[in-house]
């Protein structure tokens, strides 16, 4: 029967609810899949505390640290690679410790569903000597938040909370708790030994950090997030962590394997429970996604014991796990004759369906004009956002991390590459980590063109506002920063702004920038078509005049999903392009057509 306290929620929504219920004073983050919805849901709840989209993860981390040092509860939230950006304050935060409870949410993406790598945040937690919670289900993610705040306050330590894509973007029935409201006294206390990391203070704090490890580990060991289920007479022990623990439990039950089972959800890993399990079995299989964090500890603990250890020899160290993979490993360890499922396969070849830039996406016009002006042999370093899909248009030659387009361009130039170099970076990414790269390019005389693809939003992660949008996360108006002014302040002499829906002017603009000696900036400015349409902007769609169309496919090569090609009906004919109902009326294809065969639909 339905229960009023049970709701069907996205993992990130459940996490946001828990943060709100914990009376959190400050939440700061930068959007990144799969973490973005945490702040979005939180903002919709109109919380009592402060919520912000920060300009990058380092900034978010430091804002949250300031709040914690002032006695408030705080959260810094980001995707796993965001923690790289925020790692500088994070590593030293471990020394200073916290005052108000502080969580560092670093959402991992095993399988690289929407990321440039699949690093394991548990490694960061261990590196910094900070506890880490690794939820197995969305429900556990919800339940862990309140515990994490209390633990953080008890041990004056930040806590890393590491949900993965399957938790963040999983949905399930979530049983909500009613928690007693907590009070935190706000007020910054001047304690230089804690908050001023001069070498003399840092040496002391490092020792404090090391000294509290044992006590923290002991408290986590017996927490509800670790669970040992001993089975009388079992010769096999299975240890599984995070989301892998539910796959493992299901595999054990389905296969009917007799095994003792240790589920781990908190780190440092519980050495006492591991030792207890290891002492009772002949063989241990460690099942965890990505890095062998638990396995390494198990091997250390069991050295000298007569127990056989398996882990990354049978479970991949890369990619996302699922029940099928885990079942095979469990069956193998149990000595079962089980081969899993082999799909019969098909002879029909399916066309790939890669994600594409939307019909009416301004980036398509920008890239078309860029390629026309610079030539296809130019070097086009790129960055992270929707526009990374420019790889399909031949205008994305590199993509490494946030902000790297400008700096990699400079490196390519300084290495002696003589071809023209034109990179692209989105407005949000430019504000995130692009500015220092631009300043550096000017300072060190890199002869490159930097294109800021300014679509007025952080589109890829779901249209979050940024400082150039002029809105806060709550939708309130705020200062709207000028990308032109920032570029000029960095010392760029040639700063040009163009509308990518106007192809001829945009080509001319890129040509001017190409001719310029030194660092130039082209701001290709046109609102993201999705946010524009949500605001109610509707343009007249376009159509092809079949009598004028020569079937040259210039519009097809432009790559807009709204344009289809009808093959010739008879021999000797060339066929015709046709614009379908996906057209939103940007009108760029009409400018691309060499025969003026495309025009607005007459109304």
């Amino acid at each position: 029967m339905s229960d009023n306290n049970v709701r069907y929620l996205l993992g990130n929504n459940a996490i946001a609810l828990a943060i709100n219920e914990c009376n959190t004073d400050v939440v700061a983050g930068y959007p990144g899949t799969p973490s973005s919805e945490i702040i979005e849901y939180l903002a919709r709840m109109k919380p009592k505390g402060h919520v912000e989209w920060s300009v990058n993860e380092k900034v978010a981390m430091e804002v949250a640290i300031g709040a914690s040092w002032t006695g408030g509860r705080s959260v810094a939230t980001m995707k796993h690679v965001g923690l790289n950006v925020a790692s500088d304050p994070f590593m030293t935060l471990a020394y200073t410790g916290v005052k108000g409870g502080m969580l560092v949410i670093s959402a991992d993406d095993p399988g690289c569903h929407s990321s440039q790598n699949e690093q394991d945040s548990r490694r960061y937690a261990a590196f910094a000597q900070v506890p880490c919670l690794d939820p197995a289900t969305p429900q556990e993610a919800y339940d862990m938040i309140a515990f994490a705040f209390e633990f953080s306050e008890m041990f004056e330590t930040p806590v890393v909370f590491r949900p993965t894509t399957r938790i963040c973007h999983g949905k399930s029935d979530i049983k909500l708790q009613t928690s007693a409201p907590t009070e935190h006294e706000i007020g910054f206390e001047k304690v230089p030994q804690r908050w001023v990391m001069l070498p003399a203070h840092a040496r002391v704090r490092h020792q404090v950090l090391i000294d509290k490890q044992e006590e923290m580990a002991a408290a986590l060991e017996t927490s509800q997030w670790n669970r040992l289920e001993m089975v009388e007479g079992a010769r096999l022990g299975i240890i599984a962590s995070g989301v892998a623990s539910v796959y493992s439990k299901e595999a054990i039950n389905r296969l009917g394997v007799k095994a003792s089972y240790l589920k781990i959800g908190a780190y440092p890993a519980p050495t006492g429970l591991i030792r207890e399990l290891a002492g009772s079995v002949e063989k241990i299989l460690v099942i965890e996604e990505l890095e062998p964090v638990v396995e390494e500890i198990v091997r250390t603990i069991t050295s000298g014991m007569e127990v056989e250890i398996h882990g990354k020899d049978v479970i991949p160290r890369y990619g996302e796990l699922d029940l099928g993979t885990v079942e095979l490993a469990v069956a193998g360890a149990a000595g079962l004759d089980y081969t899993g499922y082999t799909a019969p396969g098909t002879d029909i070849e399916l066309p790939n369906r890669p994600p594409v830039m939307c019909p009416g996406c301004p980036h398509r016009g920008s890239y078309y004009a860029m390629k026309k002006a610079f030539g296809k042999d130019a070097i086009f370093p790129g960055d992270i956002g929707c526009y990374t899909l420019g790889v399909q248009m031949g205008t994305m030659d590199t993509c490494l991390c946030m902000g790297a387009s400008i700096t990699v361009s400079a490196g390519i130039y300084h290495a002696g590459e003589t071809k023209p170099i034109c990179c692209s970076i989105g407005d949000s990414t430019f504000l995130h980590t692009g500015i220092p790269g631009l300043l550096n390019a000017v300072y060190n005389s890199a002869d490159i063109t930097v294109t800021i693809l300014d679509n007025r939003t952080t589109a890829m992660t779901g249209h979050q506002p940024n400082p150039s949008t002029g809105l806060t996360v709550l939708g309130d108006a705020t200062f709207m920063v000028s990308l032109e002014d920032i570029s000029r302040a960095c010392g760029v002499e040639l700063v040009l702004t163009t509308d990518p829906f106007d192809i001829a002017t945009t080509i001319d603009t890129f040509k001017q920038a190409k001719e310029h000696k030194g660092t130039s900036v082209v701001i290709s400015k046109q609102e993201c078509i999705i946010t524009a349409r949500r605001r109610g902007i509707k343009l007249t769609p376009f159509c092809v005049d079949r009598d004028e169309c020569r079937g040259c496919k210039a519009c097809i090569k432009f790559g807009c999903p709204a344009i289809e090609f009808d093959p010739p009906e008879a021999e000797g004919e060339k066929g015709h392009s046709r614009i379908g109902n996906l057209c939103v009326g940007c009108g760029v294809c009409a400018q691309v057509c060499p025969f003026n065969a495309i025009s607005e639909v007459e109304t």
């Binding site: 029967m1 339905s2 229960d3 049970v6 709701r7 069907y8 996205l10 899949t33 799969p34 919805e37 569903h113 929407s114 289900t137 399957r166 973007h169 999983g170 949905k171 399930s172 029935d173 989301v243 539910v246 796959y247 439990k249 299901e250 699922d322 029940l323 099928g324 079942e327 899993g340 499922y341 799909a343 019969p344 098909t346 029909i348 070849e349 399916l350 066309p351 790939n352 369906r353 890669p354 994600p355 594409v356 830039m357 939307c358 929707c386 899909l389 399909q392 890829m460 992660t461 779901g462 999705i530 496919k553 097809i556 090569k557 790559g559 999903p561 344009i563 289809e564 090609f565």
Partner: protein
């Protein structure tokens, strides 16, 4: 026994997430535990979208290959792409209207004949339900209700009663569109019941 593993596939923009939400929320309203996995991010960008919904489940949300009780496909090529998830005893409910990917539009790949794909799907399941959901959506009152037509088409296979599903639809779609969406659901359910 109400355990049921459902894979829902389609193309970004077709409303696959709403489709899985309808099922998931109906289950929760009926007091049934449910675990679902969603594809985010590519939803507005025309890529393949794959959601897993596991009813009466307390484990992980991912359905292993060969184990799904049903594959619900909002597009025929996506049905074939996802068919490895299906158990040999499973059901495929497929919308017969193709959406051509950019690789086909640009001439770098061919789109297989729909009849060939349906024949292939037929050989991979216990029951194939092929529905012209686009036409039924128009008949219901709006072309964007294709996803709800398809939920109707798969509904009689789910361990959920009609009322829970209809309540779930009413609570999830915009208030002004409730009637159109309920009409879409019923047309889909009827179409599946009359398909061999």
């Amino acid at each position: 026994m109400t355990e049921f593993d459902l894979v829902i596939v389609g193309v970004g923009g077709q409303g696959a997430i709403l489709a899985s939400d309808i099922v998931g929320k109906a289950a929760v309203n009926a007091g049934m535990p449910v675990m679902a996995a969603e594809t985010h991010g590519m939803a507005q960008r025309g890529g393949s979208v794959e959601n897993h919904v596991r009813l009466d489940c307390r484990y992980g949300s991912l359905i292993p290959r060969g184990r799904a009780d049903a594959v619900l496909a909002l597009e025929p090529a996506e049905a074939l792409r996802a068919v490895d998830y299906l158990s040999p005893d499973g059901v495929i409910v497929v919308n017969t209207n193709p959406l051509l990917p950019i690789t086909v539009l640009s001439g770098s790949a061919d789109y297989p004949a729909v009849d060939d794909m349906l024949l292939e799907l037929q050989g991979r399941c216990k029951r194939l339900v092929a529905v012209d959901a686009d036409s039924l959506a128009v008949q219901a009152g709006h072309p964007l209700t294709t996803n709800v037509v398809m939920i109707g088409a798969v509904s009689s296979f789910l361990p959920l009663d009609v009322q829970s599903l209809e309540d779930s639809i009413s609570s999830l779609v915009p208030p002004k569109t409730v009637d159109v969406n309920l009409a879409a659901f019923r047309l889909g359910r009827k179409a599946a019941d009359t398909t061999d």
